[in-house]
């Protein structure tokens, strides 16, 4: 179970985490992209932070939609429409809700991942953010279905995402800018998969504090 206040805390923590890791994300994107992923996302999450105060009395659907809109408008790279769509699609299934059960969180997580696939015309195994998001969602859903509590299920999700990030080092990119590098993308971890891991980690950190 989670309420709107916690969602805002998570968004805030994600923004801070992205900002703290900005240079590392940019460095990863330098290796296999155009070196702007950290810059893009920290710009986007800064504009999210500026809107946080206006979310105070909103339902979870409206909050997530607001986050998505801000990201689409300000990120400027592929991760903008991708994360933007993810948050908006998650928001769609939380319309009017001020609390979410763990099952509802899993439903929203799934909607977010499906949103990325739709927007990116992409799938798992193409060396993108989906390589951390998809296994993370499966682990989370599995945890919830298996009767784990929210923190445990999210811990499983974060571990799966971290493994997903490692996995991206072993595959060739076939989507996104890194796809132009073909086999030269091998050995490098995907920036978007890494930022997805950070966002999930930020959520876990907040929930662990209780």
């Amino acid at each position: 179970m989670i309420d709107a206040k916690k969602i805002i805390e998570i968004v805030d923590a994600a923004a801070k985490k992205i900002d703290a890791e900005k240079d590392f994300l940019t460095q990863l994107d330098n290796e296999i992209g155009d070196g702007d992923h950290g810059i893009n996302l920290s710009r986007g999450f800064k504009s999210v932070e500026e809107k946080l105060a206006t979310f105070a009395d909103k339902d979870i659907g409206a909050i997530l939609k607001g986050v998505g809109t801000a990201l689409v408008s300000t990120v400027g790279g592929a991760s903008g429409p991708l994360y933007g769509t993810a948050f908006m699609k998650a928001g769609n299934v939380c319309k009017g809700k001020f609390t979410l059960t763990d099952e509802e969180i899993a439903t929203a997580f799934n909607a977010a991942v499906e949103g990325v696939k739709m927007r990116g015309k992409s799938a798992e195994g193409e060396k993108t953010m989906l390589d951390s998001l998809c296994p993370a969602y499966r682990a989370f859903q599995g945890g919830v279905d298996g009767g784990k509590n929210l923190v445990q299920a999210l811990e499983d999700a974060v571990n799966a995402a971290a493994q997903g990030v490692e996995y991206t080092k072993t595959i060739i990119a076939t989507k996104g800018r890194a796809a132009y590098l073909q086999e030269r993308s091998l050995g490098h971890q995907d920036p978007g998969a890494t930022s997805s891991l950070y966002i999930l980690q930020a959520a876990l950190d907040v929930l662990k504090k209780g």
């Binding site: 155009d34 702007d36 893009n40 689409v72 408008s73 990120v75 400027g76 790279g77 592929a78 991760s79 903008g80 429409p81 991708l82 933007g84 769509t85 927007r119 990116g120 996104g176 800018r177």
Partner: protein, 120 residues
Amino acid sequence: MVGIVIVSHSQKLAEGVMELAQMTAANVPIAAAGGLENGALGTSYDKIKNAVESIYTADGVIVLADIGSAVMTAEMVLEDMERDNVKLIDCPLIEGAVVAAIESIGGRTLNEIIEKLETV
């Protein structure tokens, strides 16, 4: 006349493509949405939206985009607009822009131009 919007990561590229299209179709309604607000490389939701709105008429608008985030961001702008006479077409950007501009000046409808672009 059908309007045309050129979406690119680069302001220079978007404006250059627009120039080329205007060379053979001087009076075509066309707008460029290139780069970010601060001039950096990237795609801006607001720039795309404003560009479409600046030339929108009931005849419709064709949107052409370069790569990656330009395509995805343009898709989102169009979904939010909910106008079925504003279409994002997947074709080579420069040739597509030139062909669309000539056809638009020639008085073709949105659907006729889209059909033409599918062969570019």
